[in-house]
């Protein structure tokens, strides 16, 4: 079974501070991991996927298979980063192909 856990429902930081949004997963095969962001009243947008190893808006995330984690990090938070962040997992074959399993989401608030 696929499971994604985001332990923090709310996270508050000040502008310029580092931020880390935690994500842990459970999956028996080799998963694909994603971070999605949802700004106020807007649609879910893909922020990062682990296979591309890119940095978007200063955010990075590294897949740690040993710890089954995919934490999202940014060294210097900005006010415009305030949003809901979802970690998601997709299986890599069989009946779980393409289906995303989401975590509960973390609301990030960046204070001025």
């Amino acid at each position: 079974a696929q499971r994604v856990t985001q332990p923090e429902k709310l996270l508050s930081v000040f502008k310029g501070a580092p931020v880390e949004l935690k994500c842990n997963y459970s999956y028996s095969g080799s998963p694909e991991l994603f971070w999605y962001v949802q700004y106020s009243r807007q649609r879910l947008q893909l922020l990062l996927r682990h296979i591309s190893r890119e940095s978007i808006k200063g955010f990075t995330a590294d897949l740690n298979k040993g710890e089954t984690s995919f934490h999202l990090k940014k060294p210097f938070a900005q006010e415009e980063d305030s949003a809901m962040y979802y970690c998601a997992l997709s299986g890599t074959g069989g009946t779980s192909y393409g289906k995303l399993t989401f975590g509960q989401g973390t609301i990030l608030t960046v204070h001025p």
Partner: protein, 112 residues
Amino acid sequence: EPEVTQTPSHQVTQMGQEVILRCVPISNHLYFYWYRQILGQKVEFLVSFYNNEISEKSEIFDDQFSVERPDGSNFTLKIRSTKLEDSAMYFCASTQGYYGYTFGSGTRLTVV
């Protein structure tokens, strides 16, 4: 940038009524999905659709639910006899291949 379009943005219906939620996926995408998010809860997978048939569905997607791609552009979710617990935000998504879903902005369904 191409978008997934969902209509209506908000639908209010009486319990027991049928509702149809509409989605126009991105034109060259091949895989289509419906997800829902009950207020305060995580985004949950409902169904995936490929090659004109359901490829996977969740336990939530019971006989009251159906999906259709009637004309090669629209992708609809029908709930035959709505219940109070069907009240949620419903998201449509599409993808061309394996990665990088594009989500619609959602339809908020309120069952009264």
